[in-house]
C-alpha cells in the first residue's frame, strides 16, 4: 500500500500520506494516460503485471492494493469469497436493501402487476398447556430480550428504500405483543375471533416503513389452549429467519435467563460487506456467466390464464395444500438417497413435470427462492434478516427420460446455476427484462423448498415453551403474499411430517386446472415415496417451447404494453425536468424523450427514488405503478401532466 501510495503521489503530485484510500484516481486528478503509467510503475517497482482493463480511472487506492495483492499472490479465481464481514462502527447507520428486498419494497409501493400492500408471511400454530396468567408477560419479556440479541427485530425501511436498525430505547422500536383473551368465550365466539384475526393478519402485513416488521399476537383459549400468531414482513425476515426467530423466541420464553451465544455480526454488517462484492473478480465471473446465458433462457411455463395479470388486483393468494405422513416422508427421503438426489430436487423435478404437462411444453424458466446465506462469517446462519435471494433456473426436460434421469439432470443444472450465486436472480432478471424489453415479471413461477432446514439448524424446533406450554407444530394455518408471483410451490417440514403448498393468484387461473395440477403433483410425489415413479417416463409434450397457435392468454406470452413515444429531444420543460431527474439517478446522459429508465440502466428501486425526487421537482407525486408502466421520459412526463390536470 505504501509503495502504491508513493506511485500515486508521484503521478498525481500529492503528498503520499494525503492520498485517501477510497477516492478514485480520476477524482484525484488522474486520467487514462496516468493510469497506464501507473500500471507501468506497478510492474516496474512491484513486479506485478496488471492488465489495461484492470486499471480504470475510477479505481481507488484501496481497490488497487487489493488487486495487486491478488495478482502478486497468483491467487486463483477460485470461490474463496474475497470479502469479510465485520461489525459496522455505527450499528444504527442506514444501509441499502438487498435485491430481493428491493423487489418486495417496490411491490409494496404497488409498483407492478401482482403486487400487494405488504409482502408478508402469516403463520399461526396451536399451543397446549398454556399458563394463561403468565404467558403474555413471558412472551413480551422474551421479545424484549430477543430484540437485543437480534437487532433486526428493530429494523425499519425508509421511504426511499434504505434500511436501518432503531436503538433499543427508541420509542416503539421493539415489537409489542397483542393478547386476545378468549378463555371465557364460547365456541362460536372463538371461531369468529380466529377467523377475524386470520383475515386481518393475512390481508394486512406489518409495514416496516411505519413500524416493526413483526406482528406478534397471542390468543388464549379455554382449557389451557392457545394460538401464537406471527405476521412477518418479507422485507425484514426471510424463511430461514422465521425459523431462527421462532426457535430463539421459544428459547427465551421457556427460560427467563436464557442467553444465546452472542452474535458478532448482524444483517446490516453482512449487507454492508456485500457492497464490495461487485468489485471482485469472483462476482464479475458470475455476472459474465449469467450474461452469456441470458439470450438463450426460455420463458416461464406458458400456463393458460383466466385473466391478464395486469388486470387483476389480488388481496391474498389462494392455497392448495397437502401433507405427507411421517412414514411417507421417511420413505421419500430413503428413495431420494438411493437415487442420489436431494428431496428438494425430487420435489422440484415433480413440479417441473406437472408444469410441463399443464403448459404443453418442456423447456421453461423457473424462479427459485434461495435461503442460503453466503458463508462470510461463522455467525451468519444464526442471524435474523432478509438474506434470501432468488435464482433463475431453466429446466429442459427430456421427453424420453425416466423421472430418475430427469431428477439427476435437474440436480446437475440446479447445482451449476447455484455455483454462480453471487449474482442473484433479481439482478439477472432485471438484465433479462431489459434485453427482452419486457415489463412483465420474468420469473412468475416459483419453487421454494426448506426441506432439510431443520436438520441444518440442529434438529427440530423446541416444543416446550415454558409458560406458553407446548407447540403443536402440525396444527397450523399459514398464508403468504409475495409480489410478482403467479404461482409458487413451497415444500416444508412440520415436525416429523412433510407438507407442500401451491400458493397462487386465484384470479389468474381456472380453479379446476389448478386443482388437477396439484392432484397430479401429490400423486407423483406419492409414487416417488413408494418407489414406483422413478423409472417411469412421465410422458411430456414433445414441444420444447410453447406454440403460438392458441389464441388464449398464456403466462410468458402476454402482450407487452405497446407504448411508443416519438423519439426526439425532450419536447418541453416538464420532459426536460424528467430527463434531468433520470440523469441524476442513473448517471448517464438522458437525451431523448423516448429514453427508457430501465434501458438506461435503472432498476425498480431507483425508480421509486426517481418518483420521490420528481415529486420534489415538479410538485406532484406520480404513482410508482404509472412510472413503471411507461418508464420513458415522455411517459413519465405524461403521467405528471395528467396528475397536474387532476388537481386542477
Amino acid at each position: 500500500m505504501k509503495e502504491l501510495a508513493g506511485i500515486w503521489s508521484e503521478l498525481l503530485d500529492l503528498p503520499p500520506d494525503e492520498i485517501p484510500h477510497d477516492v478514485g484516481f480520476l477524482r484525484l486528478g488522474g486520467d487514462s494516460v496516468l493510469a497506464v503509467r501507473m500500471s507501468a510503475l506497478v510492474r516496474k517497482r512491484l513486479g506485478v503485471a496488471l492488465a489495461l482493463s484492470d486499471v480504470r480511472v475510477e479505481t481507488t487506492l484501496g481497490e488497487l492494493a487489493e488487486l495487486v495483492r491478488r495478482r502478486a499472490s497468483g491467487e486463483p479465481t477460485a470461490r474463496a469469497l474475497p470479502i469479510k464481514v465485520t461489525p459496522r462502527p455505527d450499528p444504527h447507520a442506514e444501509f441499502p436493501l438487498l435485491p430481493l428486498q428491493q423487489g418486495y419494497f417496490v411491490g409494496q409501493q404497488d409498483g407492478w402487476e401482482l403486487s400487494y400492500d405488504s409482502a408478508h408471511y402469516y403463520l399461526d400454530y396451536a399451543l397446549t398447556g398454556v399458563d394463561g396468567d403468565e404467558a403474555a408477560d413471558a412472551l413480551a419479556d422474551a421479545v424484549e430480550r430477543l430484540a437485543v440479541h437480534q437487532p433486526t427485530l428493530r429494523a425499519r425501511v425508509t421511504s426511499d428504500g434504505r434500511q436501518h436498525v432503531l436503538p433499543v430505547a427508541a420509542p416503539g422500536a421493539v415489537p409489542q405483543v397483542r393478547v386476545h383473551d378468549l378463555r371465557e368465550a364460547s365456541a362460536e365466539e372463538i371461531a369468529a375471533a380466529l377467523r377475524d384475526v386470520r383475515h386481518e393478519m393475512s390481508t394486512r402485513g406489518p409495514d416496516p416503513t411505519r413500524g416493526p416488521g413483526l406482528d406478534l399476537r397471542l390468543t388464549l383459549l379455554p382449557g389451557g389452549e392457545g394460538r401464537l400468531h406471527l405476521g412477518l414482513s418479507l422485507l425484514i425476515f426471510d424463511g430461514w429467519s422465521s425459523s431462527v426467530l421462532s426457535r430463539d423466541l421459544l428459547t427465551h420464553v421457556a427460560d427467563w435467563n436464557a442467553a444465546l451465544p452472542p452474535l458478532e455480526i448482524h444483517f446490516g454488517d453482512y449487507v454492508t460487506s456485500l457492497a464490495e462484492l461487485p468489485a471482485t473478480e469472483t462476482w464479475q465471473a458470475d455476472r459474465d456467466w449469467w450474461w452469456s446465458r441470458l439470450d438463450a433462457l426460455p420463458g416461464p411455463p406458458a400456463l393458460p390464464l383466466a385473466a391478464d395479470p395486469q388486470e387483476v388486483r389480488p388481496i391474498t393468494m389462494g392455497n392448495r395444500e397437502h401433507r405427507w405422513s411421517a412414514d411417507r416422508w421417511a420413505a421419500l427421503r430413503q428413495q431420494c438417497t438411493s437415487r442420489g438426489v436431494t428431496p428438494s430436487t425430487a420435489m422440484l423435478t415433480a413440479f417441473g413435470v406437472v408444469l410441463a404437462r399443464w403448459a404443453g411444453h418442456r423447456r421453461m424458466l423457473l424462479n427459485s427462492l434461495q435461503l442460503n446465506r453466503l458463508p462470510l462469517h461463522p455467525d451468519v446462519q444464526r442471524v435474523v434478516g432478509a438474506f434470501a435471494a432468488t435464482m433463475l433456473l431453466p429446466l429442459d426436460l427430456d421427453p424420453a427420460a425416466t423421472f430418475a434421469e430427469l431428477a439427476t439432470a435437474v440436480q446437475a443444472t440446479s447445482g451449476e446455476h447455484a455455483a454462480h450465486n453471487l449474482v442473484t436472480g433479481v439482478e439477472v432478471g432485471r438484465e433479462l427484462a431489459r434485453r427482452r424489453g419486457s415489463r412483465r415479471p420474468v420469473g412468475p413461477v416459483v419453487f421454494q423448498s426448506v426441506l432439510g432446514v431443520d436438520a441444518a439448524m440442529g434438529g427440530r424446533p423446541p416444543e416446550d415453551a415454558g409458560p406458553l406450554g407446548r407447540v403443536v407444530a402440525t396444527d397450523y394455518f399459514h398464508q403468504l403474499r409475495t409480489p410478482q408471483v403467479a404461482i409458487e410451490v413451497r415444500c416444508f417440514e412440520l415436525g416429523p411430517e412433510m407438507g407442500a403448498v401451491f400458493s397462487l393468484v386465484d384470479e389468474l387461473f381456472e380453479a379446476d386446472q389448478v386443482t388437477a395440477a396439484f392432484a397430479e403433483f401429490t400423486a407423483l410425489v406419492d409414487t416417488l415415496a413408494d418407489g414406483s415413479g422413478w423409472d417411469r417416463v412421465p410422458g411430456l409434450a414433445e414441444a420444447a417451447d410453447p406454440g403460438q397457435e392458441d389464441g388464449g392468454l398464456r403466462l410468458g406470452l402476454l402482450p407487452e404494453p405497446a407504448v411508443r413515444h416519438q423519439e426526439g429531444p425532450p419536447a418541453d420543460e416538464l420532459e426536460q425536468a424528467v430527463a434531468d431527474v433520470f440523469e441524476e439517478l442513473l448517471e448517464v446522459p438522458v437525451l431523448d424523450r423516448g429514453a427508457d429508465f430501465f434501458g438506461l440502466g435503472g432498476d425498480s428501486l431507483l425508480a421509486v427514488r426517481a418518483v420521490v425526487r420528481l415529486a420534489k421537482e415538479v410538485g406532484t407525486p406520480v404513482p410508482v405503478r404509472e412510472f413503471l408502466a411507461d418508464p420513458t421520459v415522455a411517459g413519465v412526463a405524461l403521467a405528471v401532466r395528467s396528475r397536474l390536470g387532476d388537481q386542477r
Binding site: D31, V36, P589
Partner: protein, 358 residues
C-alpha cells in the same frame, strides 16, 4: 483560380469535387504525385488542371499559390504544415482555407508581423474541430443555455497521418480530459468516462470520453452556456486504450517518435470498423433556462465517412470566403462560418445521411 493542396488525399478529393461542383472557379490541384493529381483533376465536374508541388519547397509553393484567389490546404500533417502554406498564400495575395491547423497554426500566423492586408485565413475547416464547434451554435441562437453537450465520434479508420495528428492532439492548446465547463471556467477532473451508453443517433452503445477541447471552451464563452460537456465517442475502448498507451510511453510530443507508434492507433481503428462498420455521428444537445424563448434543442448529423465530410466542410468554407461572407483576418471555421447557411448546405449534401435540427 483556386489552388487546392492535398487534393489526392481522403479529404482533398471530396473538397475538390465540391468546389468544382459549386462552380466557384477553375481549380489548380496540387500533389506530390502528378499522375494521381491529374487523375483527380480529370474527374472533376468543372475546369481543373494538375500541378506537381512539394509544399516543403518554398519556391514550388510560391509558384503554386501565384495567381490564386484562394489557396485551400487539405495536406497534413498539421503540426508540420502549421502556417507555411498560409504565409505563401498571403504572399501571393490569396486568401486561405485549411482543413486543420487549430490554434497552433492560427496563433503562428497571427503572431507574425507580415503584412496581412485585407487577407482572410480560415483554419480548422473540417469536421472536428470545425463543424463540432459550429453546429452547436444553432442551439444557442439568442438564448442562454443551462447546459450544452457535445458528443462526436463513431467508427472511422485512422490513416497513419491522421493517427499522428490525433496523437498530437494533446495538451492545453487542444483540450483538458475529464473536465467540464461550469460558470465561466474549466472544472478539471469532474466528468468520468461513460461506458456502454446509448446516445440518440448512435447505432450501438458507445464509450464516451470527456474531453473539453479548446473549441468547446470557446463555444462555452461565445454561447454563454452555464455548463458545457464535450465527449469523444468511441465504439469500443480500443482507441482510448491505444491512445493512452502511446501517450504514456512517449513522453514528449515529438511527431517522429509518435509516428513510430501510430500503428497501434490505426490498428485499433481498423478493428473498430471491422466490428461495427463505418459511421460518424455528431450530436449536440441544449438545455435552455426555464422560461427561455423556444428554439431547437438538438442537432444531429450522421454520415458514413468523416474524411469525406471534412472535405465538404472545407469546400463550404472556401465558398464562404469567395462569396465575401467571412470578414478579413485569421479565423477558426467554427467562429467564422454562418451556422445556418452551413447546416442548410450540409443538409442537402449526399454525403450527409441525416442532419436534423429539432
Amino acid at each position: 483560380m483556386i489552388g487546392l493542396l492535398g487534393g489526392t488525399g481522403a479529404v482533398g478529393r471530396t473538397a475538390a469535387h465540391r468546389i468544382a461542383a459549386y462552380g466557384l472557379g477553375p481549380l489548380r490541384v496540387g500533389g506530390r504525385d502528378l499522375s494521381r493529381a491529374t487523375a483527380v483533376a480529370a474527374a472533376l465536374p468543372g475546369p481543373a488542371h494538375a500541378v506537381r508541388v512539394d509544399l516543403n519547397d518554398p519556391a514550388e509553393l510560391a509558384a503554386f499559390c501565384s495567381g490564386c484567389r484562394v489557396v485551400v490546404n487539405c495536406a497534413g500533417p498539421t503540426y508540420q504544415v502549421l502556417d507555411t502554406v498560409a504565409r505563401a498564400a498571403f504572399a501571393a495575395g490569396a486568401d486561405y482555407v485549411d482543413i486543420g491547423g487549430e490554434l497552433a497554426a492560427k496563433d503562428a500566423l497571427s503572431s507574425r508581423d507580415t503584412d496581412r492586408g485585407s487577407r482572410i485565413a480560415v483554419f480548422s475547416a473540417g469536421v472536428m474541430p470545425g463543424l463540432s464547434g459550429l453546429l452547436p451554435r444553432l442551439l444557442a441562437d439568442g438564448r442562454r443555455l443551462r447546459r450544452l453537450d457535445v458528443y462526436v465520434g463513431g467508427a472511422a479508420v485512422f490513416t497513419p497521418l491522421s493517427a499522428v495528428d490525433a496523437l498530437l492532439t494533446r495538451g492545453p492548446k487542444f483540450g483538458v480530459p475529464m473536465a467540464a465547463w461550469r460558470e465561466g471556467r474549466i472544472v478539471p477532473n469532474t466528468l468520468g468516462p461513460l461506458h456502454g451508453v446509448r446516445l440518440p443517433g448512435f447505432p450501438v452503445p458507445v464509450h464516451a470520453w470527456p474531453y473539453l477541447t479548446t473549441e468547446a471552451q470557446t463555444l462555452a464563452v461565445d454561447t454563454g452556456a452555464d455548463e458545457v460537456r464535450s465527449y469523444n465517442v468511441f465504439v469500443s475502448n480500443r482507441l482510448p486504450d491505444a491512445l493512452a498507451s502511446v501517450w504514456a510511453e512517449v513522453a514528449d510530443t515529438d511527431p517522429a517518435a509518435l509516428a513510430h507508434r501510430a500503428d497501434a492507433v490505426t490498428r485499433a481503428s481498423r478493428l473498430d470498423r471491422a466490428d461495427f462498420g463505418a459511421f460518424y455521428v455528431m450530436l449536440f444537445t441544449a438545455r435552455p433556462h426555464p422560461g427561455a424563448p423556444p428554439g431547437p434543442t438538438r442537432v444531429l448529423l450522421t454520415a458514413v465517412d468523416s474524411y469525406a465530410l471534412s472535405g465538404v466542410v472545407t469546400a463550404l468554407a472556401t465558398r464562404a470566403v469567395l462569396t465575401g461572407s467571412v470578414p478579413e483576418g485569421v479565423h477558426l471555421a467554427a467562429e467564422a462560418l454562418d451556422p445556418d447557411a452551413t447546416a442548410a448546405a450540409l443538409h442537402d449534401d449526399p454525403l450527409v445521411d441525416q442532419l436534423t435540427v429539432l
